[in-house]
């Protein structure tokens, strides 16, 4: 099942050993999208790596930037202002909705429900428009910087965001009317790809795949970061660990994300949007265009970068696919000595041979969709 296949969500190659239609064994071959991000990170300054992190899970860039920024800030001992925390949470949750929408679109389209694809992409267009107002880019936003966020949220963003959130629950119900009780959908997702509780932990699954098996582990609750300790939300859990459970969980996670964004917009504090540390944060743009000291400051920060104290840190964050972790080793200079990206899709994909054993070929497509992989993250 070669690298060019409409249902493998990217360039994934599976070598299957079949007995008629039954899968006897499956070996995934990855690495077709390997871009050497970890090697590149060793020659870039810490701020230059932020756009690199966008490209891992390119469907939810706000979350990737956030995970990286939190790791570096922990290493440097920087605290970001409250407004930056809330803005980061809003962007992270909007990215989560965007990622889950595309997951649902492709997962349903692979199984055969093509209408869902078009419905989800309609909402995603509005979301990408929101990102464009806030950050200037639709997909690879690079919004979260080290020390805060890149730009402040304009009033137009806040009002458009509120309108989006008000209209979204009805749309999620629409997707459910299309497939949740559809006989074909239930037949193709219930009882397929079951992973029991202990095995899910042993295989190192995270995210929706883990919670589908009933394990209550969400990094936003277990080790809170950004503004997640100041908002209320529930973490949906599955029971059996099959494809249907993981689908239900992700739909519910979208609703919970809307809840988080509503609370964040309500409680959005005023104040600065980046930490007031001259060695890290860029000066305001109108000052840079106005006086020479700010211009020099901007030039030095952008061209040379800032130095991070010697040490190492591992920080994990809950991105839509699971736990994205950055293990950063610093030697005291302005470029990292080693950056290891613990990507959830890479670790989650390991369980695929175990999941599809004994099923038929058509179920492989359901299983790949339900693990929710993005090849950009698998291969980095």
């Amino acid at each position: 099942m070669g690298p060019q296949h409409p249902s493998t969500h990217g360039v994934l190659r599976l070598v299957l050993e079949l007995d008629g239609e039954r899968v006897h064994s499956c070996k995934p071959y990855v690495g077709y999208l390997h871009r050497g991000s970890e090697k590149l990170a060793e020659v870039k300054t810490y701020q230059q790596i932020v756009p690199l992190t966008d490209r891992f899970d390119y469907l939810s860039c706000g979350n990737n930037n956030l995970a990286y920024a939190i790791a570096v800030e922990k290493l440097m001992g920087i605290e970001v202002p409250a407004r930056a925390d809330y803005l980061r949470t809003i962007v992270a949750e909007l990215s989560r909705i965007s990622s889950h929408l595309l997951w649902l679109a492709t997962h349903a389209a692979d199984i055969g429900a093509v209408t869902v694809l078009l419905y989800c992409l309609r909402e995603r267009e509005e979301l990408l428009g929101l990102f464009e107002i806030l950050t200037g880019a639709r997909l690879t936003v690079s919004y979260v910087n080290i020390g805060g966020v890149r730009r402040d949220a304009p009033l137009e963003f806040i009002s458009r965001c509120r309108e989006f959130i008000e209209g979204m629950p009805r749309r999620i119900d629409e997707y459910n009317t299309l497939i949740m009780e559809n006989r074909i959908w239930l037949g193709r997702t219930k009882g397929i790809g079951i992973i029991p509780y202990e095995e899910a932990i042993d295989w190192g699954l995270t995210g929706g795949s883990l919670r589908g098996s009933g394990v209550n582990y969400d990094l936003r609750k277990a080790i809170p970061y950004a503004a997640y300790d100041r908002v209320e939300f529930d973490v949906p859990l599955g029971e059996k660990g099959d494809v249907y459970d993981r689908y239900i969980i992700r739909i519910e996670e979208m609703r919970q994300s809307l809840r988080i964004i509503t609370q964040c917009l309500k409680d959005l504090p005023g104040g600065a949007y980046k930490a007031d540390i001259p060695t890290v944060s860029l000066p305001l743009k109108d000052k840079v265009m106005g006086d020479i000291e700010s211009l020099i400051h901007q030039f030095v920060l952008v061209s040379k970068g800032f130095e991070v104290p010697k040490g190492e840190v591992y920080v994990g964050c809950e991105v839509p696919k699971g736990e994205l972790g950055f293990y950063i080793v610093s030697d005291g200079s302005e470029k990292p000595w080693r950056m290891k990206v613990r990507s959830p899709s890479y670790v989650n994909l390991q369980v695929l041979p175990r999941m599809v054993k004994g099923h038929i070929i058509a179920d492989i497509v359901s299983c790949i969709g339900s693990i929710d992989i993005v090849l950009g993250e698998v291969d980095r």
Binding site: H34, K39, K74, W203, G204, V215, E323, G325, Y327, Y346
Partner: protein, 160 residues
């Protein structure tokens, strides 16, 4: 359990194996000798006070020109107690072999394959140690510090 108590628990159970420890920004690690890596990991997984049932990551760092050159880092987490610890194994350049922990956590499979592929650390006892991210006939281990960032020198070989 607090992270420093975890290090104490490892030192109490395996006093000869722990050769160092450290901490930075509230995260702790223990440096252990390589022979009993699998036993220590199994102890950490099964002991009810530590219960590290979740392996987050296995990675390697190249500290050239320091000797020992390589450092294999295991990061693990406990679902029940919500605590994390790191284990490090120091390896020299001419003998980068360490026992595999695939028998302890099934997750270790691809994580060790990637470390082998990009850094060249061999894992003794791994069921199928072959390249995963790079093509099977690639030469060299790119994440090492002596591998050029621009990539290898390309040789154009005419098709047979």
């Amino acid at each position: 359990m607090e992270p420093d108590k975890l290090i104490e628990a490892i030192k109490a159970k395996f006093p000869d194996e722990v050769v160092g420890e450290g901490s930075h920004v509230g995260q702790y690690w223990a440096v252990i000798k390589r022979d009993k890596v699998a036993e220590i990991c199994r102890f950490l997984k099964e002991d009810p006070d530590t219960k590290m049932d979740y392996l987050i990551d296995i990675t390697a760092v190249d500290y050239q020109p320091r000797t020992p050159r390589f450092e294999v880092v295991y990061i693990m987490h406990s679902m029940k107690h919500v605590h994390r610890v790191r284990l490090k194994v120091l390896l020299s350049e001419d003998d980068p072999v360490v026992p595999s922990v695939t028998g302890v956590w099934r997750t270790a499979d691809w994580l060790e394959r990637e470390t082998y592929d990009l850094m060249g650390i061999k894992f003794d006892g791994h069921p199928d140690l072959c390249r995963i991210l790079l093509p099977d006939d690639w030469e060299g281990h790119p994440l090492r510090k002596d591998y050029p960032i621009e990539g290898p020198e390309w040789k154009f070989v005419p098709l047979p």
